[in-house]
């Protein structure tokens, strides 16, 4: 495959007068070459994961774009960073870390990106239309924008996302193309009980199964209720994108490219069909985290960032109780502004909630100790808790998390998983 560039694209890659854009163009074209693209396509928006500090290299890269005079050509939102900008003391890190993380976040603002600082930009107003070509980073956001909104993004890694935003174009490969959006795997959940399919905690578990079974194949799930909330699809996609390389999934009768299973398969036969059993569901749930006895040190919620309805549901479940362990709720400014306005933020804080804003507990050091047991309703938190925080995860529903926080040890409703 030979990559054909337009004259403008070729000129940009060597334009010394705009060194930042030239570097971005070279990176986009290198990526296009090794992905086997024949050309670049225009994009209409980007979501940038590159703003999160992983080490000094990411800071120098962003500052090199800025020094080279680069700016974004399409609207771009920013993913969670490594700092809670309004409450820097919540991050347990040294001055170098804080300084470099801040420099990195600032560089992306200079490039023109919006200070959304959330891994759920699709719940903060950034919702590309069905069929729109976009370049998104952050695995859960990629899964959501493709699957739930039906926009088209390949799985963009750090650096490439911002280079696409700076050049306004992306390699024409993968999930940008209709034929690659076809489901090849069918996951049939019809044998599971309707009660299980109505449980919030079922969705991250199903996502974990999808990620393991699908790897990087597109799958279509059939047998789910047609009224699944957006937050459940968000949880499903986040777990699938953590345990596998899932950038797109379909849910028959629910997601926009899957009115039917046959539509999702684009009329082809599936390469495999998996009937999901309750045994598989239980095993996947335990795989997300079974904890250590009933030990509990903290609760972590909000990966992806908690939405306003999820936060209100937490408050409803908590009722008048006070939590015995810290309950970290990771979310964005789009939610905090809404719940601060009607006093809910203050009420939850009085119960023992610690809001983590602009960032989250698995991407930057926030938790007090380096080990313990962390309970979560998030498949993504469960997957990354141990390597990123040292905490042993235990997975449960939001109601389980609230009950456990109130009594100070892990309690889980087991009957529904039988």
């Amino acid at each position: 495959m030979v990559l054909h560039l337009t004259e403008i694209e070729r000129a940009w890659a060597t334009d010394d007068a705009s060194a930042g854009r030239a570097m971005a163009m070279r990176i986009v074209t290198r990526a296009a070459e090794f992905l086997g693209a024949e050309n670049l396509i225009k994009i209409t928006s980007a979501h940038i994961d590159s703003c999160l500090y992983h080490g000094d290299g990411g800071v120098y890269f962003a500052e090199k774009l800025v020094e080279g005079g680069a700016g974004i050509m399409v609207p771009a939102t920013l993913n969670a960073g490594a700092l809670d900008l309004g409450n820097p003391g919540v991050i347990a890190a040294d001055a170098h870390y804080r300084d470099m993380a801040r420099r990195q976040m600032d560089a992306y603002l200079v490039l023109g990106c919006q200070p959304t600082w959330t891994c759920a930009p699709y719940q903060a107003g950034h919702r590309p239309a069905l069929g729109a070509q976009v370049a998104w980073g952050e695995s859960n956001a990629i899964a959501f924008v493709n699957s739930v909104l039906g926009a088209r993004s390949e799985r963009y890694g750090d650096f490439l996302d911002i280079c696409c935003a700076v050049t306004g174009c992306a390699p024409d490969v993968g999930l940008h193309r209709t034929e690659n959006r076809r489901a090849r795997l069918v996951l049939d959940v019809s044998d599971l009980s309707p009660a299980l399919c109505r449980l919030d905690a079922f969705y991250p578990v199903l996502g974990a199964i999808l990620g393991r079974e699908a790897g990087d194949l597109v799958g279509v799930i059939t047998g789910l209720p047609s009224d699944i909330s957006e937050d459940r699809l968000k949880a499903l996609g986040a777990a699938a994108a953590s345990t596998g390389a899932v950038g797109l999934f379909h849910v028959a009768g629910v997601t926009p490219e899957a009115a039917t299973v046959s539509d999702a398969l684009q009329g082809h036969e599936p390469e495999a069909t998996i009937n999901v059993t309750v045994e598989m569901v239980r095993a996947a749930r335990d795989g997300l985290g079974a904890g250590i006895g009933d030990q509990l040190d903290c609760i972590a919620l909000g990966s992806p960032h908690f939405s306003e309805p999820e936060t209100r549901e937490l408050a409803r479940l908590a009722a008048d109780e006070t939590f015995r362990v810290p309950v970290y709720v990771c979310t964005g400014r789009h939610v905090i502004d809404a719940i601060a306005a009607d006093g809910l933020k203050e009420i939850l804080e009085a119960r023992g909630v610690i809001f983590v804003i602009d960032t989250c507990v698995v991407v930057t050091p926030i938790l007090k100790d380096i080990s313990g047991v962390l309970m979560t309703n998030s498949g993504k938190f469960a997957h990354y808790a141990k390597p990123n925080t040292g905490y042993t995860p235990v997975f449960g529903s939001l109601a389980d998390c609230v009950k456990s926080a109130v009594v100070g040890h892990v309690v889980r409703e087991e009957a529904i998983w039988a």
């Binding site: 990176i27 999160l52 290299g57 890694g157």
Partner: protein, 138 residues
């Protein structure tokens, strides 16, 4: 007797080192510590093993798009693999190496080929043009 393979050079270059073939796919973010080069994902069968200086053979990559950034940090810290052999093209890791090149740091070869012939412990020499010479396993 060694074996010579022709791979597709995603990032061309020469390198040599012992083969480390991972038993399962891995996400570098959350899976590899950029300061030590060690695999830190507790559920990974190769947890605790260092990828630094190895000819790292990957049966696929999964998970976070932040893995490019971990790749760049591994290169900056001198803890990167000597080369990466992928069973399937993936933009995420190679991008980290491309960005290292733009920042005037050393790049490493990233190749794509069938990985059936690779076993942990073999010595691998990679020449420009995607040529891999595989020695016997220890």
């Amino acid at each position: 007797m060694g074996l010579t393979l022709q791979a597709e050079a995603i990032i061309d270059g020469a390198a040599a080192g012992p083969v480390l073939r991972l038993a399962e796919p891995i996400s570098f973010w959350g899976g590899v510590d950029p300061l030590s080069g060690k695999i830190i994902q507790p559920t990974h069968p190769d947890c605790g093993v260092s990828i630094a200086g190895k000819v790292l053979v990957l049966p696929g990559t999964i998970g976070s798009s932040s893995s490019s950034a971990i790749m760049l940090e591994l290169i900056r810290e001198g803890m990167a693999p000597a080369a990466i052999i992928l069973s399937k093209a993936d933009a995420i890791l190679a991008l980290g190496a491309v960005v290292a090149g733009e920042l005037e740091l050393p790049m490493l070869p990233v190749l794509r080929c069938d990985i059936d012939a690779f076993e942990t412990g073999q010595w691998a020499e990679i020449a420009e043009g995607g040529i891999i010479r595989l020695g016997e396993a220890d």
